[in-house]
């Protein structure tokens, strides 16, 4: 088997194992395995509105996931997609509310650019610390993510709060209907063309440009890349910037699409799920598209389960966790014969 095919097969096997383990737990708890699968299929595809909802949820996962792919290509682990997504959405909201009388096309364009800018800024700070000082980016992107969550919390509970809003969770004012690019289903030709275009652009960038090649080289072996004459810092900063830009864009799409307003802690899991999406997609653009649709479907099924079956939604959160828990297992690490002492010494 070639290396690529082997990785595809091993990932599929691991996702399959996660399914089986979850099904086993549910079966022990008295649900039939058929019920589990029919619940997932109905909740993600066949129930009324389920397929649309699957696509709606795969859009932010795909955009943030592509950002994670770019980061990993250059050897960086951007785990802060959630915060970048939030500050992006907040900036787009600020532009749209502050200039709500402007021409729709211009305002949406400015708002989207603001979102991309904010997402970029949010990941460039950890990126700069990483390439300049070697500060661990997992920690800093995670911290920036928490700060971004608090920024959203502050804005929706404070300056941008909708004063007439009631209920437990604070929410912002709604943006004018004319600014929205989809209805509340979150899917429209505009959005699909936009997201598809972004995926193609990312693919072109990674596979067909000098910069993409430089990123791959830096990710594989920074020392060698430097000797080849690549400016490692610049390439690293570029990767961080693009990664944050995509997450910020996802925030704008969320606001102008299904959201229309921001609620404290909306879509709480997309940042982390996007990392899993990118890994299940084997860090390739098209693999990420497939895996984003898969996880989008799972997310939709979580929301639809109470309608279509009596299987409780947490069962799918469990499945989701199981996939994340196991998906990075390496088959090479599983040995049928005991390792020789030399191999063992090299492993640590």
């Amino acid at each position: 088997m070639t290396g690529g095919l082997q990785r595809v097969v091993s990932t599929l096997v691991l996702v399959g194992v996660s399914f089986c383990l979850t099904a086993l737990i549910l079966w022990i708890s008295g649900y039939s395995v058929g019920e589990v699968f029919s619940g997932i299929i109905q909740g993600s595809v066949t129930a009324t509105g389920a397929a649309t909802s699957s696509i709606r949820w795969s859009i932010p996962l795909l955009l943030i996931g592509l950002g994670v792919v770019i980061g990993f290509r250059a050897g960086f682990f951007n785990i802060g997609g959630q915060g970048q997504f939030y500050v992006g959405a907040c900036s787009a909201l600020a532009v749209s509310l502050g200039w709500s009388g402007g021409p729709a096309l211009l305002v949406v364009l400015c708002g989207t650019l603001a979102a991309i800018g904010a997402g970029t800024a949010w990941s460039l700070l950890p990126g700069y610390l990483r390439v300049r000082f070697g500060t661990d980016e997992v920690l800093t992107t995670l911290m920036m993510s928490f700060i971004g969550t608090l920024v959203l919390q502050y804005l929706t509970a404070g300056p941008m709060r909708n004063p007439s809003g009631t209920g437990q969770t604070a929410a912002s004012e709604r943006i004018p209907e004319g600014f929205r690019i989809t209805d509340s289903s979150g899917v429209s030709p505009t959005v699909l063309v936009l997201v598809g275009g972004v995926a193609v652009l990312v693919w072109l960038l990674l596979e067909r440009t000098r910069f993409g090649l430089a990123m791959t080289l830096v990710g594989r072996n920074p020392t060698m890349a430097r000797w080849q004459g690549i400016d490692v810092r610049r390439v690293g900063l570029g990767a961080f910037a693009l990664s944050g830009a995509l997450a910020g864009l996802a925030g704008a799409v969320e606001l102008y699409g299904p959201g229309a307003r921001l609620v404290t802690g909306f879509s709480p899991e997309v940042g982390f799920t996007a990392v899993v999406v990118a890994l299940v997609g084997l860090l390739s653009v098209w693999g990420t598209v497939v895996s984003a649709v898969f996880f989008g479907g799972l997310q939709s099924a979580i929301l639809f389960l109470p309608i279509v079956t009596d299987l409780p939604p947490p069962a799918l959160v469990l499945l989701h966790g199981m996939v994340a828990f196991l998906v990075t297992v390496r088959f090479r690490a599983i040995r049928l014969r005991p390792a020789t002492s030399a191999e063992e010494a090299l492993a640590d």
């Binding site: 070697g134 928490f146 404070g158």
Partner: protein
């Protein structure tokens, strides 16, 4: 003011316990993002077994057992099976949150939350005025937390195990050369971390409250993880960081009651994250080496994806 301090202690205790767990994992070179999952499993198991047996002690013992088993599985996945530490940790968190919410429905046929009569004793209670309020109404686990943190410090600083742990975390190659098996030491550290997470979860469900609620940890596991870094992976530092987070939480609760004098709580809560970034950055700059080498988890990182 007394009320704020009392709330601070109550919020800080579970954070400090879980942060101590994180310190053990961090010293072994593991970025443990599964703390949240273990914590909620601890909270649920204590309530579930406590309700079934009528004994809170049995509940806590069962919680410790379950969390240690999960920690062992986590070790198996990230160690021998070579999975990514961070992704598997996040997965463990999802498994904990989803699994407990599911089990609540499957075992007790409840949705959302469940009340329990089986709770931890409160050594001092009933004081309603003066400085006594600060120490009143705390569960026995809150009282034990400083002791647990100090014990952790002694173990890490003064015991053979603590020294081995430091060696494994800082330079596993040297540890191996000295005849220490890094894999086994990591397992031990994760088992201790699991037990401490169970205690933190138990304090949340049967110490501070009388119930288990879906997602009741509400990100506390991640805050505890930040406390570990903010406290420079020292048990006492992490506990002080937890105290700070508890204080920020208490201010938030008070300012919600007192709506006119609203402190922008979010900004108070941001301080530790900003300081953590600064600390991680300056720490690396000052010692001329990156945190990656400090945490020594580079060897646990996957080389090619």
């Amino acid at each position: 003011m007394e009320q704020i301090l009392a709330t601070t202690l109550r919020s800080a205790a579970p954070l400090a316990l879980v942060a101590t767990a994180g310190v053990f994992a961090f010293r072994a070179g593991i970025f443990h993002l599964g703390l949240e999952g273990l914590m909620i499993v601890g909270a649920f198991t204590t309530v579930a077994v406590g309700e079934a047996t009528g004994s809170v002690e049995l509940g806590i013992l069962a919680a410790i057992g379950v969390c240690m088993v999960l920690s062992a599985v986590y070790w198996w996945v990230i160690g021998p099976l070579g999975a990514n530490v961070i992704i598997a940790g996040l997965g463990l968190t999802s498994i904990g949150l989803g699994g407990t919410a599911f089990a609540l429905g499957a075992i007790f046929d409840r949705r959302g939350s469940m009340f329990t009569e089986v709770v931890l004793p409160r050594p001092v209670s009933g004081i309603t005025s003066g400085f006594g309020v600060i120490v009143s109404e705390h569960s026995v686990l809150v009282w034990m937390t400083p002791l647990i943190v100090l014990t952790a410090w002694v173990v890490l600083r003064r015991s053979r195990f603590g020294l081995r742990l430091a060696a494994v975390g800082e330079y596993p190659f040297a540890a191996r050369a000295a005849g220490v098996n890094p894999s086994v030491v990591r397992l031990q550290a994760l088992l201790i971390a699991g037990a401490l997470c169970a205690l933190g979860g138990a304090e949340l469900s049967v110490g501070a409250l009388h119930n288990f609620t879906e997602n009741m940890t509400n990100g506390r596991g991640f805050i505890a993880f930040v406390a570990v870094i903010f406290g420079a992976w020292h048990p006492i530092g992490a506990a002080l960081a937890a105290l700070f987070f508890g204080f920020a939480d208490a201010i938030g609760i008070q300012s919600q009651i007192n709506i006119t004098e609203r402190v922008p709580r979010e900004f108070v809560l941001m301080i530790p994250y900003v300081l953590t970034i600064l600390a991680v950055w300056l720490g690396g700059l000052w010692r001329r080496r990156s945190l990656e080498a400090e945490a020594g988890y580079a060897e646990l990182r996957e080389p090619d994806r």
